[in-house]
C-alpha cells in the first residue's frame, strides 16, 4: 500500500506529461489564455448525441414522455437564445476575451454574449435565463464554468433533445494546442436524465489573418418570423 502510494504521484506526473505536452500560454495576469476567435466544427447543433459520451443521452422514461408532448418548434427558429451548452456548438464563430476578474464570450450567433465573473460567488436563485447564470474559475490550465438557472425553454439541438429547469452544466475549456481548445461539458438534470452525462468536442481557432466577427441579427422586418417544421417526428404512443 505504502509503495503504491509512493508510486502514484510519479505515475500521475508521467501520465500528465504524456497527455498534456502542450504548454498553455498565459494571460498578463497569469491565467491560462483562451483568447481568440474559435468555432466548433461538427453538427452537434442539429443532434447533440454526435458529441455525447457513448453517443447516448440517458433519458428517464418520464422525460421522454414529457418530451413527446412538448412543443415541436425549435426555439431558435424564433430567434431565441440557444442556451448552454448549445451556444458553444452553434456553427458560428465566437470570441473569448479575458480580463482580470472576467471571461467574456462574444458569440456571432444572434449577437449573444456571456459576461462571466471569475471571482467566486453564489449562484442566483429564482430566475430563469436563456444562457443561464455562469460562474467561472480556473483549475490549473482549465477554465471551469458552472452554469445554473438555464430554465426549460431551450433545446440542446434542433433534434429536440430537451432538459428541465433543473439543468446544471459544468463546462471545461482546456487548451490542447496553439489553435485548439478541448471543450467538455457535464450535464446533470435529475428530472430528465438518469445520470449525469458528458459531451466533448474540439474548438478550432480561426486562423485566417484579419478575421473579425460580423453582426448577425435575426428576423429583420415585421414578419420575419419563421416557423420551422418539426425536425424529428413525435414518437408514436
Amino acid at each position: 500500500m505504502a509503495a503504491a502510494c509512493a508510486l502514484a504521484p510519479a505515475i500521475h506526473a508521467q501520465q500528465r506529461a504524456a497527455e498534456t505536452p502542450y504548454k498553455v500560454p498565459r494571460t498578463t495576469d497569469g491565467k491560462p489564455d483562451f483568447q481568440g476567435i474559435w468555432m466548433a466544427r461538427n453538427a452537434a447543433a442539429f443532434d447533440v448525441s454526435e458529441i455525447a459520451e457513448g453517443r447516448t443521452i440517458p433519458y428517464l422514461p418520464q422525460a421522454l414522455e414529457r418530451e413527446a408532448k412538448a412543443d415541436r418548434v425549435d426555439p431558435t427558429a424564433h430567434c431565441g437564445m440557444p442556451g448552454v451548452p448549445r451556444i458553444t456548438y452553434m456553427p458560428f464563430p465566437f470570441q473569448i476575451m479575458q480580463r482580470p476578474g472576467y471571461v467574456v464570450f462574444l458569440y456571432e450567433y444572434l449577437h449573444n454574449h456571456r459576461v462571466i465573473q471569475t471571482t467566486p460567488r453564489e449562484h442566483l436563485d429564482g430566475i430563469d435565463l436563456f444562457l443561464g447564470d455562469s460562474v467561472a474559475r480556473y483549475e490549473g490550465d482549465t477554465l471551469v464554468i458552472d452554469v445554473t438557472s438555464l430554465g426549460s425553454r431551450t433545446w440542446l439541438d434542433s433534434a429536440r433533445h430537451m432538459h428541465s429547469d433543473q439543468l446544471h452544466v459544468i463546462e471545461r475549456y482546456m487548451r490542447t494546442g496553439p489553435d485548439t481548445i478541448q471543450y467538455q461539458a457535464t450535464l446533470e438534470d435529475p428530472q430528465t436524465y438518469s445520470k449525469s452525462w458528458k459531451i466533448s468536442m474540439p474548438l478550432h481557432r480561426i486562423t485566417e489573418p484579419g478575421f473579425e466577427l460580423r453582426e448577425q441579427e435575426c428576423l429583420e422586418g415585421d414578419d420575419g418570423r419563421a416557423i420551422h417544421p418539426p425536425y424529428r417526428p413525435a414518437p408514436k404512443s
Binding site: D29, C79, M81, I127
Partner: protein
C-alpha cells in the same frame, strides 16, 4: 447582487410595458439604464477632463473598463428637449443634441413627423439592435485590450467590438455599424461607419440614412465619470454635422451586466411577458396557418 438583479429585471420588463399598460396599472419604476436614476445630476466639465490623469491598463492605455450608466435625461424617448411623462421618461430642457435642434433636410423633416405618428415602426420595439448612439443610452460594460475594445450592452443583448486596427469593410451594413478606434491623448476616438438605415436615434421619429458616420469621443472626467461626445455626419439627411454629448457614471460595485432577452416582433414580447411560451402555442399557430 439582488439589487442589481432587480434593476436588470426592470430593464428587461421595460419594453413590455407598452403592451402591458393597457391591462395593468402602471407600476412605479425607475429604468436603470435610461439615464433617469435618482441622484445628483452629473455635469460635464471638459476642463476637468483635460487635466485629469486617468488610470491606465497594464498595457498603458487610459483605462475605461467598467460598467457605465448614461445620464441622458431620457434620450431613448427623444434626443431633443422634451417634457416628461410615462412614455417620455424624464423630461429634459436640453436633450443630448448641441443647440437642441436637428438640422434635417426638408424631406427628412417630413419623415420625422411621419415616423412620430407611427411609433409601431420603431425597430427597438421589435427587439432589434439599437445602433450607435441609441445603444449607449443604456448601461454597458467596456473590456479593453490594446488591439480591440468590447462594448457589451445589457439592453437587447447587444455587443460591439471596436477594432484599433484595420479598416471599415466594404459592402457591409450593420445595425451597430463597424467601429474603428484610436487614442488621441487620453481620449478614445471611435469612427463608426457601415451603419444601416434601419436603426433610429430615439422613439420620437429621429432617424438617419445609411450614409451616417458617427465619430465618438470617450474621455474620463474623473475616476467615476466618463464623457461621451460625438459628431454625426449624414449628408443624405442633415444639412450640417450634428454634435451630441452626455455624461456616464460608473455603476455601483454590485452591478452586473445580465441577460436581456428580447426577441423578434411584438407577438413574442407578449410571450416573454408571461416569462414562458404558453403551452400549445406553436400547435395553435400551426393550426391557424393551415387554415
Amino acid at each position: 447582487m439582488r439589487s442589481a438583479l432587480l434593476r436588470v429585471t426592470i430593464v428587461m420588463v421595460l419594453p413590455l410595458l407598452a403592451l402591458a399598460v393597457a391591462q395593468t396599472p402602471a407600476p412605479k419604476i425607475t429604468p436603470a439604464g435610461a439615464g433617469n436614476l435618482a441622484g445628483e445630476a452629473t455635469k460635464i466639465d471638459l476642463e476637468k477632463a483635460r487635466t485629469f490623469k486617468p488610470p491606465r491598463t497594464e498595457s498603458g492605455q487610459p483605462n475605461l473598463e467598467g460598467i457605465w450608466q448614461p445620464r441622458t435625461s431620457g434620450a431613448a424617448f427623444s434626443i431633443l428637449p422634451h417634457s416628461g411623462g410615462f412614455f417620455l421618461g424624464q423630461g429634459s430642457e436640453t436633450g443630448i443634441v448641441e443647440g437642441g435642434v436637428l438640422p434635417y433636410q426638408p424631406w427628412a423633416a417630413e419623415q420625422v413627423k411621419n415616423r412620430r405618428d407611427h411609433v409601431e415602426l420603431d425597430p427597438t420595439g421589435h427587439c432589434h439592435y439599437e445602433g450607435i448612439p441609441h445603444a449607449l443610452y443604456f448601461t454597458f460594460q467596456i473590456f479593453q485590450t490594446p488591439s480591440h475594445i468590447a462594448f457589451v450592452h445589457e439592453n437587447m443583448h447587444a455587443w460591439r467590438m471596436v477594432y484599433m486596427t484595420g479598416e471599415h469593410p466594404r459592402d457591409y451594413l450593420a445595425w451597430m455599424g463597424d467601429s474603428r478606434g484610436h487614442w488621441e491623448g487620453n481620449t478614445l476616438v471611435i469612427d463608426v461607419a457601415n451603419n444601416n438605415d434601419k436603426s433610429v436615434f430615439d422613439m420620437a421619429g429621429h432617424f438617419h440614412s445609411d450614409q451616417l458616420r458617427v465619430v465618438e469621443r470617450y474621455t474620463l472626467q474623473d475616476e467615476n465619470t466618463l464623457i461621451w461626445e460625438a459628431t454625426l455626419i449624414d449628408p443624405k439627411v442633415f444639412t450640417r454635422p450634428v454634435k451630441m454629448r452626455f455624461p456616464l457614471v460608473r455603476a455601483a460595485k454590485d452591478y452586473a451586466i445580465m441577460e436581456s432577452g428580447c426577441f423578434e416582433d411584438e407577438r413574442d414580447q407578449a410571450h416573454l411577458k408571461d416569462a414562458a411560451i404558453p403551452a400549445n402555442h406553436y400547435k395553435e399557430e400551426h393550426e391557424k396557418e393551415k387554415k
